[in-house]
Amino acid sequence: MAKTPPQHEITQLLAQWREGNQSALDELYPLVYDELHRLARRYMSRERKGHTLQTTALINEAYVRLVDQKNVAWANRSHFFAISAQIMRRILIDHARRHQYAKRGGGAQQVSLEEAAIVVPDQSGELLRLDEALKSLAEMDPRRSQVVELRYFGGLNNEEIAGVLHISENTVTRDWNMARAWLYQQLTGSGAN
């Protein structure tokens, strides 16, 4: 298993990304991912059954472990959470895709034997459509789509989102309202286009 990367490295990468260096994000992503993965696994192996793993708690712990606390800046923390939100989104979408893939698609209704997915609760289709809609939203309005990502996939509250995006909390609320209404419309098929 890979070693936890040095704190200063992550802290530096976060600073670079904040300054607009996109390739820093490419480097950060796997580092953060691995740490989340490692923590989650360790956590689950210790906890009693039935105890749920809190995503936000997990991200917090990863943050404390990965980021050099002496040189911490609020913006670093926000950016760390923003990456985590991306990671969580991707995990969920990948999972939903796998699930959808395991299911049989069109034309197979008459068929009685079907390959069953191992893990189900079937919102995967909806989640995938949400993801697609969110991508379309990002094309028209990147900021609103980010608000959704941070809140829905990252579990950030409005104050934290405001910090990440350098906007006021009021704007976060307004962005959320608009984005959510539009996504609802897309998903329920009462599309505006």
């Binding site: 490419d26 992503y29 991912y33 989340l36 993965h37 989650a40 696994r41 956590y43 689950m44 749920t52 793993l53 809190q54 995503t55 936000t56 997990l58 939100a85 969580m88 989104r89 995990i91 969920l92 990948d94 999972h95 895709r97 796998r98 893939y101 395991a102 049989r104 698609g105 034309g107 197979a108 008459q110 068929v111 009685s112 034997l113 079907e114 390959e115 069953a116 997915a117 191992i118 893990v119 189900v120 989640l127 028209m140 309005d141 959704v148 829905y152 996939f153 579990g155 307004r174 309202n177 608009m178 959510r180 209404a181 539009w182 996504l183 609802y184 419309q185 329920t188 009462s190 505006a192």
Partner: protein
């Protein structure tokens, strides 16, 4: 919708939702003026806003569901693409592992409906010009070659900023994995060598030198042991057939060997002396490398291997390897061929792959004849060995060699116990045609869509519960062509679904090797639907390929559930399966499995899965 339009809507929307109903209508009216479509859009959005609130739409945090998934090993970030994901016209079926250049996936080409290996370059490599060049080179060179022992390249391209190479998919292992430090049987070793040389012959004809022939780049297909030469990434197109004076124009490959000894230790052992000295390289370099591989296959040892890169290079340049026959019992002719291939001076080696191939073919033929002679003789004259040896002028043929050849040809374990194998071999009399197939069923109980309890196996069918997910395991002591179709309980003309072969189950091939267990499905379970009744799972197992069933392959696939939509094909399947009523196989229910036996070359049997 244009971003401008979107901004316009959003501006009206954000103020409107703060107002009560009456004021809102007036506000929207005033803002939209005569732009009716704008008004409609704004109103729709306001309406959606209210409904989203009422539905508590996205009130939760999806992230909370993500954390438990993180504990799942299946989720690995190293994979650029995921199972089921669409990638251009491909659908990713599985991850096959990672190589130096990126990830390799099993994928389905939806345009041509074929299974391919998809090599996707990691994004960081795309940045690296030299490696990109190599990748492009590989695509270009390999796609220009069309020979059955060279991996076929289908496509080189880019999707979503990811560069990929689609090639023929080989279900098998590399010669490196196959060798695993052991020696190979003589017959197998000759087969592999000859196929490598056939590939090289084709490449050399096209004036392409591979330059990196090594066991890692030789792939053996599992079901028929066909050899495929891979990785033309370092290949070079020669201007002249035999360049003599000009210096190698591409010292980069050599620099790579030189500068990163630790990384490429595996490769350096197969380098020719001229390669090691960064001299000019031609086809005879590939001959050398093939000779080195052959030496390794025969003896289990590499002829040139030092403790460091420089030691190895010194050995390559100066050391004469230990003769094969000093290490193992091998035909002297084989030793001559290998030693000629690894002559230090290119001029003393085989000059073409074709010449070397010819010698190997001749050797193989002779060994086969010897084996036959030996066999015939053993039935007639007890003292056959002496007689035969006198007949042979060539002194190299000794009894042991024959034993080795026999063992190789008949698949007996050899080398170590070569003396034992001199006992006469008798041909197995032609057995009357019969097909045998066994099956058993694995059950996994599910509760709330999650598996619980350990899976258990059944010898055959029972009346299944709705929450039982099952897997059918099929095996035969004979190799043969297997087709499995599902027929539902529907009344009227039956419809069939392809259950086997599928791209994931057997690489799309119907031919199943003897003794191999086929899991259906391979990685998940069959689940019953709500409609009660009897599901038939038709097993069709044939000695010969069934041309009437081969077309079912193109309907296989999870996307469509394998449903066969061609009425003509459905009809011919039904006709074939109906023949079963005439020739029902004998069914023996054992403790742990069910055995089916049918006379003739064809076995057809429906497993009946009843569920409630």
């Amino acid at each position: 919708m244009t971003p401008e339009r979107w901004q316009q809507i959003s501006r009206i929307f954000k103020s409107a939702i703060l107002l009560d109903n009456e004021a809102r209508a007036a506000y929207v009216e005033s803002q939209c003026g005569r732009d009716d479509s704008l008004r409609v859009e704004v109103e729709k959005l306001i309406d959606s806003h209210g409904k989203a609130d009422a539905d508590e739409f996205m009130n939760g945090v999806a992230a909370e569901a993500a954390a438990p998934l993180l504990t799942n090993d299946e989720v690995r970030r190293q994979e650029i693409l995921n199972k089921g994901q669409r990638f251009g016209s491909y659908i990713i079926l599985d991850s096959l592992g990672s190589g130096g250049m990126g990830e390799v996936y099993l994928a389905r080409d939806t345009r041509l409906d074929r299974t391919v290996a998809l090599k996707v370059l990691s994004p960081d490599i795309t940045e690296d010009k030299r490696r990109m060049q190599r990748f492009r080179q590989e695509a270009k060179v390999a796609s220009s070659l069309n020979q059955s022992n060279i991996l076929t390249v289908f496509e080189f391209g880019e999707v979503d900023g990811l560069t990929f190479l689609a090639t023929e998919y080989i279900d098998g292992e590399t010669l490196r994995d196959h060798l695993h430090g052991k020696r190979l049987r003589l017959g197998e070793m000759l087969d592999i060598s000859m196929q490598v040389l056939a590939a090289l012959d084709a490449a050399h004809e096209a004036r392409i030198v591979h330059r990196d022939i090594k066991p890692e780049n030789v792939m053996l297909r599992r079901h028929d042991q066909v050899v495929k030469v891979l990785d033309f990434g370092l290949a070079k197109v020669t201007e002249n057939r035999y360049p003599t004076l000009e210096h190698d124009s591409d010292p980069e490959a050599i620099t790579e060997f030189r500068t990163a000894p630790g990384v490429i230790m595996g490769t350096i052992n197969y380098m020719s002396p001229e390669q090691a000295q960064a001299k000019e390289i031609d086809e005879r370099t590939d001959i050398w490398s093939t000779g080195v591989i052959m030496y390794e296959m025969v003896t289990g040892k590499q002829p040139f291997r030092g403790s460091t890169t420089s030691h190895t290079i010194v050995q390559i340049l100066e050391k004469d390897p230990v003769p094969l026959t000093k290490l193992v019992e091998a035909p002297a002719e084989l030793e001559r061929i290998v030693m000629k291939a690894i002559a230090k001076k290119p001029g003393e080696r085989y000059q073409t792959a074709k010449d070397m191939l010819t010698d190997l073919r001749r050797l193989k033929k002779r060994l086969e004849m010897d084996a036959e002679l030996d066999q015939t003789a053993s039935l007639v004259v007890p003292a056959k060995k002496d007689l035969r040896r006198q007949k042979k002028q060539v002194a190299v043929v000794v009894a042991i060699e024959i034993a080795v050849a026999l063992a190789a040809i008949f698949g007996v374990t050899l080398w170590k116990s070569s003396h034992k194998t001199t006992s006469p071999l008798v041909t197995t009399p032609e057995a009357p045609a019969e097909r045998t197939l066994t099956y058993w069923i694995t059950v996994q109980k599910f509760k709330n869509n999650n598996p619980y309890q350990d899976p258990f196996t059944l010898a055959g069918e029972i009346n299944f519960e709705a929450n039982y997910h099952i897997r059918v395991n099929v095996r035969s002591p004979q190799s043969g062509y297997l087709y499995i179709l599902n027929e539902g309980p529907a009344s009227g003309s039956p419809e069939y679904n392809v259950v086997f072969p599928t791209s994931t189950a057997n690489n799309g091939a119907s031919l199943v090797p003897a003794g191999e267990t086929v899991l259906i499905p391979k990685t998940s379970w069959l689940r019953f639907d709500k409609q009660q009744g009897v599901e038939k799972l038709w097993l069709v197992f044939s000695e010969d390929v069934l041309t009437e069933l081969e077309p079912i392959k193109k309907f296989a696939g999870i996307e469509t559930g394998g449903l066969i939509t061609d009425p003509a094909l459905n009809k011919s399947i039904k006709d074939l399966l109906d023949r079963n009523s005439a020739t029902k196989p004998a069914v023996e229910k054992g403790d742990s499995l069910t055995t089916l036996k049918a006379g003739g070359k064809l076995l057809i049997y429906p497993i009946k899965l009843e569920h409630h």
